[in-house]
Symmetry: C2
Subunit: 366 residues, 2 copies
């Protein structure tokens, strides 16, 4: 796969502190390309009130070289190789490291996630189900964790599986899944948001979960506690309008509590591959299912952000901010300013370190 | 409890062959009372083309005496003692034999049904759940079968339980539940549609199931096969607009298949008493739940049936009938006759033995 000619410039933007997924996409939208955005960054940051340390070209080149050395590559958002369903998410990673069969990203996928401390029956069930779904040409996405995740990858190995890891694409975690990870790199695909070499930390796992949910037409939970990461993944899938499915279990089985809760909340109860395929058909399966994916809708972005905002607009927006997060829509409404102009002011403030973005399109003072 | 003064006349109508629940209610609606209907019956039957054998007064008096001898009584539809929710069903039994605490029929009830060959865990679960629901002043209705039914009755014994039996109110079935049945007669209530002394037969069980579903604000299935009687009861409850609930289980557990299927079809997944109470609150619980039952709606009946129909109308309706069941609505539409007049003709034909009523308000030639 060929990287875009401005890969280094894109990566420098992406790896610069305080440039998150939303900001990256807004910078590209505002300035047209990464090189221009890079040139404008110091000026923007000054307006926001602090000096910005832009990631260096050397570090970006080193990161690309490190991936190349292990046969991995980078997939930038806005390029053809970037998976369409994931791109439709507002917080989609601006770049993914990927190691293995990139063609898997073009096929319909289902996520199978669940408890690390899964029961023997649950583990076997996940493996069998994943194999059956792979037989139906569905790619199985999971998180390479112990228990259900590992079983799902194993079951789908022959048909196609994608492991989304919390750390770098080259970092083995958990240790007992080293051989599995190597096999997936060879027969399937490993995907990571973090830079190569990054050891996974607690805060990386929820970020990993949003990628799992974002890549798949639907997320299926096989065993899980009510407050587990698996349920977070399922809820992200639900918020993204994807199909959410769960395997039921006895109320007496603690591992079934999360799944039963999801079903009570509206998830589809599934008992086997046929139920999963039926549920995904409603969403829109793949060509092998005789169905079509819905065209992935572009995430809400401002295609044409104004290059600059005046002091009056900046002051008007700043006056509406406090440490308590507030919806951007609310700021637009209260300020009476056009939404693209508000976005530009917020971008300036963010790059200046004065603004923090919160979930659900809300912002607050840092 | 005092029987209505015309109890014998009512019972003679009810016990006459080819007078089913719908016909009984239509006869009362057409003629105003049982005595008048009894007098008109031979004439009606002649119009229908055959002689009708009306049940004798002696047999009716003997049935009442048999019940009296065991401390049981009869509850006729249209009297204050008849449970309102059941009366709202078109096919509600015209009379119930009842033995025990009739006051239980006035309280909000939940049905708990399930497999006869229940697991130990399922049986214990049903018993505990029934006890908790009884503690919340819900009467627990079930069918006195082995397994889940028996456990539900046992759990709710102190708070209040109603056993609906398939045979006569005085007939012990199944034999191993003899002691349980005696205890329910003493502390709870036994209800039967069949005459005393009638041994339960296969065709009585579906009829029993509709009474279980009809008495309760909601029906909960604890373990059950996809084609079991428990699922039939649940579907009757759903058709009657009652709450349908099921305890989930692993796809690997055959006893959970029916429950999981119900949940897929829209039943509420419940894991304990709190979930049941929440579900019933949506339906409208009892005063103890701080809620009200919706006023039971009268079943669709013709309050004012014409006493007679002309030959032309009779021929027009008869011409539309065949052995293939057809909806009465369809006959009304095709004949262009008023619905009450069609009902009168159908009643005459039925009493004459030429018509059979089928499920869903459909009729066909006998």
């Amino acid at each position: 796969m060929t990287l875009p000619v401005d890969a280094v410039a894109r990566l420098r933007l992406i790896r610069t502190d305080s440039i998150g997924p939303v900001t990256y996409r807004q910078l590209i939208a505002r300035f047209g390309d990464a090189d221009t955005a890079l040139r404008m960054l110091p000026d923007l940051a000054r307006k926001g009130g602090r000096a910005l340390v832009v990631a260096g070209a050397g570090a970006a080149e080193a990161e690309l070289a490190a991936l190349d050395a292990i046969g991995a590559t980078m997939i930038f958002i806005g390029t053809a190789a970037y998976p369409a369903l994931l791109a439709s998410q507002e917080t989609a990673p601006p770049v993914l490291s990927a190691r293995g069969d990139l063609g898997l990203l073009e096929r319909p996928a289902v996520a199978i996630v669940g408890a690390r401390n899964a029961s023997a029956a649950g583990t076997r069930f996940a493996r069998t189900l994943a194999a059956e779904l792979a037989d139906h040409d569905l790619v199985v996405v999971s998180g390479l964790a112990r228990g259900i995740d590992a079983a799902a990858h194993q079951g789908a190995m022959a048909g196609g599986t994608i492991a989304v890891v919390a750390g770098g694409v080259d970092v083995v975690y958990p240790p007992e899944n080293a051989a599995l990870m190597a096999e997936i790199a060879e027969k399937g695909l490993i995907v990571a948001e973090q830079m190569p070499g990054v050891e996974p930390q607690a805060r990386h796992f929820p970020r990993r979960n949003r990628i799992i949910a974002g890549l798949a037409a639907g997320t299926l939970v096989v065993e899980g506690a009510p407050k587990s990461g698996s349920l977070i993944t399922a809820r992200i899938a639900a918020e993204a309008g994807r199909e959410v499915m769960a395997i039921p279990g006895s109320p007496l089985d603690p591992r079934a509590q999360g799944c039963n809760l999801l079903i009570r909340e509206g998830a589809t109860l599934v008992q086997g591959a046929a139920d999963v395929i039926e549920a995904l058909s409603a969403f829109g399966g793949g060509p092998q299912l005789g169905l079509r994916f819905k065209a992935a809708e572009a995430a809400p972005l401002y295609d044409d952000l104004p290059a600059d905002a005046g002091d009056a607009e900046r002051d008007a927006v700043a006056a509406l901010l406090s440490p308590t997060p507030v919806a951007i829509d609310e700021i637009v409404r209260l300020s009476g300013l056009p939404a693209p102009l508000v976005a530009t002011v917020l971008l300036d403030l963010e790059l200046g370190g004065g603004l923090v973005r919160h979930a659900g399109g809300r912002v607050g003072l840092a």
